[in-house]
């Protein structure tokens, strides 16, 4: 073969990010993703309507629910506090468990690989898409919380836990910070889901395993007899919402959470890499 002929594709520019764009477009165009985000958006809407209709009650119920009638923006806080133990990890587990196993069960994995996409690139892109979904999920809850709160309730300056007041924009910043905090909180679980997804070509299996682990972690976190293990659980900081409401912001738990999640990412990312790059793709 002539040199020009073989040099053509080889010399072409390499676009490592093309697959990421395609992955995000595919993920967020899926009905399943849109349905899950809609369900998450329904959480603050339901909370807002319930409080509006029935009142805040006698101080029982989810965190911050009593503050909603004072300031509608607290709907976002309450909704995130309600979603973080179950809804957010569950929807994330669906996305993370589907990453590799879903492609394998469709058979599309073999065509991505022969396209060719390197195996490491596929893993990185899939993980990035999980993180993007985590951001989209927490932001959906936060934004719909703010929206429904603004529609149904009074909005004004908010008194923080440490006694000082912040205005509307200051408080919006805190809400964004909370969304970011919970996104980071889910990074470890996303890595676990990605690893589980490399183990099987049955996506439902990987999803279920990830959800079960999220539940087990929270049960263990609630047992005082096992308190030595608590700081190492990926779910340990999930409910550390209050620190975002202090003035100044309490960054300690934010950073501990970040390091913990990055630790999980390193361990399960390495396991997923080890598994996926040596796996025979027979599906």
């Amino acid at each position: 073969m002539s040199q020009a002929e073989t040099a053509g594709p080889t010399a072409a520019a390499v676009r490592p990010l093309a697959l990421l764009g395609s992955e995000l477009a595919t993920l967020f165009r899926r009905w399943r993703t849109i349905t899950m985000l809609s369900a998450l958006a329904a959480v603050p809407v339901l909370i807002g309507i319930a409080v509006r209709v029935a009142g805040a009650g006698s101080g029982r119920g989810p965190a911050f629910i009593g503050a909603i009638t004072d300031n509608g923006l607290f709907v976002a806080f309450t909704a995130i506090a309600v979603s973080i133990p179950v809804f957010l990890p569950m929807t994330l587990a669906v996305v993370a468990g589907d990453t590799i196993a879903g492609e394998a069960s469709l058979g599309t994995l073999r065509y991505l690989l022969v396209a060719p996409s390197g195996r490491l690139r596929i893993l990185l892109v899939k993980y990035a898409a999980c993180a993007a979904f985590a951001i989209a999920a927490t932001l959906t809850v936060a934004l719909f919380g703010c929206l429904i709160g603004a529609i149904l309730f009074h909005i004004g300056p908010v008194t923080l836990l440490s006694g000082s007041q912040v205005g509307f924009w200051g408080f919006s910043g805190r809400i964004l910070l909370l969304a970011l905090y919970e996104t980071v909180s889910l990074l470890g679980l996303a890595a676990i889901g990605l690893f589980a997804s490399t183990l099987t070509s049955v996506p439902v299996g990987a999803m279920a395993a990830t959800i079960v682990l999220a539940a087990v972690a929270q049960v263990v976190d609630a047992l005082p007899q096992l308190d030595w293990i608590h700081p190492w659980l990926f779910s340990h900081y999930w409910l550390g919402i209050a620190d975002v409401l202090r003035s100044p912001v309490e960054w300690g738990s934010f950073l501990s959470n970040l390091w913990l999640q990055l630790g999980y990412l390193a361990v399960f990312g390495a396991l997923a890499y080890g598994r996926f790059t040596t796996k025979d793709i027979a599906s």
């Binding site: 073969m1 594709p9 072409a12 764009g21 395609s22 595919t26 073999r110 991505l112 690989l113 022969v114």
Partner: protein, 311 residues
Amino acid sequence: MSAAAIRATGLTKLFGAQRAVDGLDLAVPRGSIYGFLGPNGSGKTTTIRMMLNLISPSSGTVELLGEPMPRAAQRVLPRVGALVEGPAFYPFLSGRDNLVRFDAADTRSAPATRRARIDTALERVGLAHAATKKVHAYSLGMKQRLGLANALLRPRELLILDEPSNGLDPQGTREVRSLIRALAADGTTVFVSSHLLGEIEQLCTHAAVMRAGTLVASGTLDELRSQAVREVTVTTADPDAAAAVLRGRGLSPSIPAADRVEAALPDGVAVEDLTAALVAAGVRVRGIAATGESLEDRFVALTGEGFDVAG
């Protein structure tokens, strides 16, 4: 001198104790249409998966377009189009969007020409009219065509097509055949697997035959035909005289029935010469036939497929 388009050396794959592919040596010349024949389960798809770096060989090596796999995979695979064990797509995306995704997965493909390339590929497989339909509404034949379009997203030097006419109606099969011929005429090497001999016989210049993980024959179609064990059957009222004539020509005839003489036909002995000799010797010949000359019998003999009807 250019290297072979595909070269496998001692390629072996073990699944547990089972040898799915066992010591396969294969060289596919550039520019050929190479048929890869074998019954279901003979290791064809496993071999193709090893060629494409989907599964790693237990031992042995593969070179594609002169470069070693899997080391050069990212460099070589953009020049290779593939259809592996049936098409596979995202059912919730349209045919076109599926191709967009697989093209984006190729890090060396140019987004500027993507649209035009996809249009051309869809046109080539006769799927332009269904491009915006969701794939879950596609028939098996349409998916197969879309799979071929995916293999043709850019000019390829080598096409590896696993059962390309699976699920197609006779008309579609003919179209695929002429598409492959056209691609080969442009200089693309085409490696086609099939369990249907007729398919290969009509299309290919070369063929290799797999049986239970091992390669039992390979070469040009003519070479394969000439390896066929041939037999001559004479129907006659004078079997003994006929047998004597055949013996005189160096054959070793048997007389399985009162009016029939059979003998294996060695290379270089033509049936027409035997006919002339029999007639010249006064044998009353009712019929004479050379059997076992078809590639199909050779295929059946090699792979052990089908019913054994030898008398």
